[in-house]
Symmetry: C2
Subunit: 240 residues, 2 copies
């Protein structure tokens, strides 16, 4: 099996590449919190093992094999996040950290069983799609609330999962995937923006608005605010 570190690099590269760009050494170093030189030697190793193509001074990109490994981990991660929330009652700001470690450790059987227990879900608690076990996968492009220029009503599609503080705040004001919002004001010179959501107004700075991803509302996009669904487990039969 792939090591924890290797997996972390593959995930980071997959994520930073979003699409098909070359990923730079420093971007990976920053994301993973390691020295750039460490990244150089690791990317060389990844290339040696067929997970990536590496061109000095240009960057690195995943091969099909590398992408597959990254998606497997992403699937584990998102299934775990949802499972921790639904089955074990984790609050949504703490699922990321736990999933980050477990994703490298669980077996195929574990993956399959939580997938089944969850009813083969398609999205994690933060609105990210769960890659299917086999077959094609493309994340449909969404715009961050910070960057969007759309005028009409919007739906929150996803929020970034790796900042617990932000998640606690978003939860407290009801900004979860599916929430409907409207931008009611935008201060000049990249200033904070004001939104209306569920009758209340909120002012969001860059750090916050960058982590919220939206799409135009209407057209059956979102089911509205999702309630906390309960999960009854123990329904798998055991071998006699």
């Amino acid at each position: 099996m792939i090591s924890t570190s290797t997996g972390d690099y593959l995930k980071a590269i997959y994520d930073l590449a979003s699409g098909e760009a070359w990923v730079s050494t420093s971007a990976i170093a920053q994301r993973l919190g390691v020295a750039p030189s460490s990244v150089t030697s690791m990317t060389q190793r990844l290339a040696d093992h067929g997970y990536a193509v590496y061109i000095p001074y240009q960057g690195v990109r995943l091969t099909a094999k590398g992408r597959e490994a990254a998606l497997e981990l992403l699937r584990h991660h998102r299934l775990l996040e949802l499972y921790l929330e639904r089955a074990l009652g984790y609050p949504w700001d703490r699922v990321h950290e736990e999933a980050e470690r477990l994703e490298h450790t669980i077996s195929e059987e574990f993956e399959d069983r939580i997938d089944a227990a969850l009813g083969h879900p398609t999205e994690d608690p933060h609105g990210h799609p769960i890659p299917p076990k086999h077959g094609a996968y493309r994340e449909d492009p969404v715009e961050s609330l910070w960057a969007t220029r759309a005028g009409g009503p919007l739906v929150v599609r996803r929020v970034s999962d790796r900042d617990p503080e932000v998640l606690r705040y978003l939860d407290s004001v009801g900004l979860r995937p599916g929430a409907r919002i409207t931008v009611t004001g935008r201060a000049p010179f990249e200033g904070p923006l004001t939104i209306r959501s569920g009758g209340a107004e909120h002012v969001l700075g860059e750090r916050l608005a960058e982590q919220i991803f939206v799409a135009p509302a209407g057209g059956g996009a979102g089911p509205g605010k999702r309630g906390p669904r309960e999960l009854a487990l123990g329904s798998e039969e055991r071998s006699p």
Copy 2:
């Protein structure tokens, strides 16, 4: 946190010491499937870090710190085994392997949540007691069916969890913790023994009988054969 390897060594030493004996290099090497020289250097490292006392050519024994770490892992392992069986429907012969990896990875929070979901259980699926989170812990001594000389009716208290084939067989003939049996015959010269259990007779060789641990029946020892209990999860409340 402690590394996976370090944890495996601590568990092995704890297990092999059963009581307060010095554990030999070769015993650990055999248990973990590594070369004896690897064990020597690892035990030196364990001693350096205060997990064990090591005397060359005599062996190794855990310090209080080492024993604590080992028990923490043992608690994780047994809670996980039970959780995998109850909540995810794993058959009892496959829980050990999965728990063996996960025990090193789960957080305190995960431990606490599955403990609560299971209703603070005291025994794993194979009948081993689950060490409490805090406080004293002693495994009450049990005799293997192979070694016992007791004559009357017996109760199966535990079975070893690390041989899937044996577990499948035991399950198929109803020899789970709590089962009542009587030794009806014992072939000479360490030959197989015959037992009666639930109306049927079985002949058990050494390999099998060594992995079954029993106590005299009667005196409220066992609740009889335990049925497969179901577990309803999702009952933990989430933060608002």
